[in-house]
Symmetry: C2
Subunit: 371 residues, 2 copies
Amino acid sequence: MTEKNTLLGAYKQTDYQVSGHGGRNIQVLKDALENVDGELESDMYGSGKIIEEFQYKMAHYLGKESAVFFPSGTMAQQIALRIWCDDKGVKKVAYHPLCHLEIHEQDGLKELHHIETVLLADKDRIIQLDDVVNMKEDIACLLLELPQREIGGQLPDYQTLEDISAYCRDHKIKLHLDGARLFEILPYYQKSATEVCGLFDSVYISVYKGIGGIAGAILAGGKDFTEKSKVWKRRHGGDLISLYPYIVSADYYFDQREDKMNQYYEDAKELAGFYNQCHAVSTTPNVPVSNMFHVHFDGAKEDIESVLISIYKATGIGLTGNIRGTKNKGCYYEVSMGDKYSAIPKESLKKVFQMLDEKLLKNHKQKRYDQ
Amino acid sequence: MTEKNTLLGAYKQTDYQVSGHGGRNIQVLKDALENVDGELESDMYGSGKIIEEFQYKMAHYLGKESAVFFPSGTMAQQIALRIWCDDKGVKKVAYHPLCHLEIHEQDGLKELHHIETVLLADKDRIIQLDDVVNMKEDIACLLLELPQREIGGQLPDYQTLEDISAYCRDHKIKLHLDGARLFEILPYYQKSATEVCGLFDSVYISVYKGIGGIAGAILAGGKDFTEKSKVWKRRHGGDLISLYPYIVSADYYFDQREDKMNQYYEDAKELAGFYNQCHAVSTTPNVPVSNMFHVHFDGAKEDIESVLISIYKATGIGLTGNIRGTKNKGCYYEVSMGDKYSAIPKESLKKVFQMLDEKLLKNHKQKRYDQ
């Protein structure tokens, strides 16, 4: 099959895309650099104006004493958990079964840091206060991911966060925020980053999700914590002579998009509404609480791909480039709202979902007829 | 003291600098990106045209089956040693006492990988065949750094390399090349990268030393080795969604400078000659074997700084921005030749060294008079 006939190929051919900020191409970096003075000196192994000013800006934004720029969240979070484990002398932490560290990092936390993990809550739901209170193990740190990405970006209510934070403080458990999508949840909670981060001892944020930078992460907390994190950053091989390509672009897109998070959230709710009006489609969460959600189809991956490709070709609008099959013969994909959505003519979008509904209904009738 | 009156401040004010390729500023990245099509897609977690093509190019250049781009040499080399240790089931490696892993990485190899180290040779000389043959410990891997940077960039003769390689092969010891400055030593050996790398099981090279890129490293070896290195790269947090800012610039400057290494080597020999004609100055090595050497002064750091600052102001030519004191009341600095040297009018340069000689002689007489 040539790429043109695949879902991804057809998606790339569309005039409009519903998700994201646009292609991850080199123009993203060129745009960020365009108005930066070429004479500006590189950071040097964690020092210099570029890195120090951005770290200061992020520490202030997050309401933390200090912040450190890391090349990746994988590195930043393993290091955060390691520091808290060493501090307490307990090499055990707790997090959700679908935590990034558990499923996407080749077990770096265990292989490099020899830290044991306690998995809280079931895979298909978020961690609640009871899960924490009923935990038998003595742990150094609890990691909460807000929103819980692998289940569509779900969130606990704010009271639950406050209760878990208070419980951890009382029980000498450090609370770490996997805030890869922290910016994106603030409109739902109606809280500032400082307020949310105030509930946590340490915070990681990503600069290339909602912000749309190129790569990189911030790890923030007290000065003692961040100083230790710099030592581990060097040990991991993350203390690069120059991180400025990521920092300059993070700073540029932060300034462009930080105040657009409410728009992305509103767009996510609208788009999820369109999906939920279609036959044999549902979103998780039903009403999004951030800029993201998952779209689930009661139909085989191949069938849904055919449906989508035909819609892309007919309308010039792309919904996704990638679908994953599920165990129960359905399929799903992730949607993250960004700058692209607002460019799509509303009438054309409505036509897309009218077509989707009709085609899925037809597929469904055919399926019943075949049985 | 304002920066203007420091050695670094005075150095930055000069019209010509003897060392390097020029300032590490953002223009370095802008230049590399200028003719790259903005539509070119980012690499994605180690996949995609940009990263795969450069890895292929470097594997071919080094004569290895496969190559992987890493954000840093610190990460690449720890991982290389870990793989060889795991393969043999022996968590012990050998290297020089001034190896980068021993003195610049906050003990990452020990803290993250729990690998023991055997230090071969004395600090002030390079590893010879006898050091390897007389080693009592059973090790998984021997790391050789060519040239040995911390002692001015010294090299063993090529026969010694071949003998060590043969010995290691016979004794089931993997041989790893710290080739941070591999390009820079090829003119002295009169060998290709493929020939030198053929003596080693695995090879690391840096893309921001002689090549002058922004950051990043290549780790090369057999396919089985590099596949394992990708798993560890993810564990370390080095498998970034986008590494292209480093890759594009590495590729750009590799093409610009790979064939200039002979010029840098010739320039290093010429410049070291100028230094060695001066009173109370010597270089290590006496005759350079790469683009680098160390300049040692028989005089206190502060005195030499004053001398250099006055010369910079008088001639507009800068020799170094940074001097380090030594235990025996002398001082030294490192010189790495690059693009900047050829721009300096030879007559002006001779005047610099004439002044340096006169001032050092005067200082020396004053010192004897004071005693």
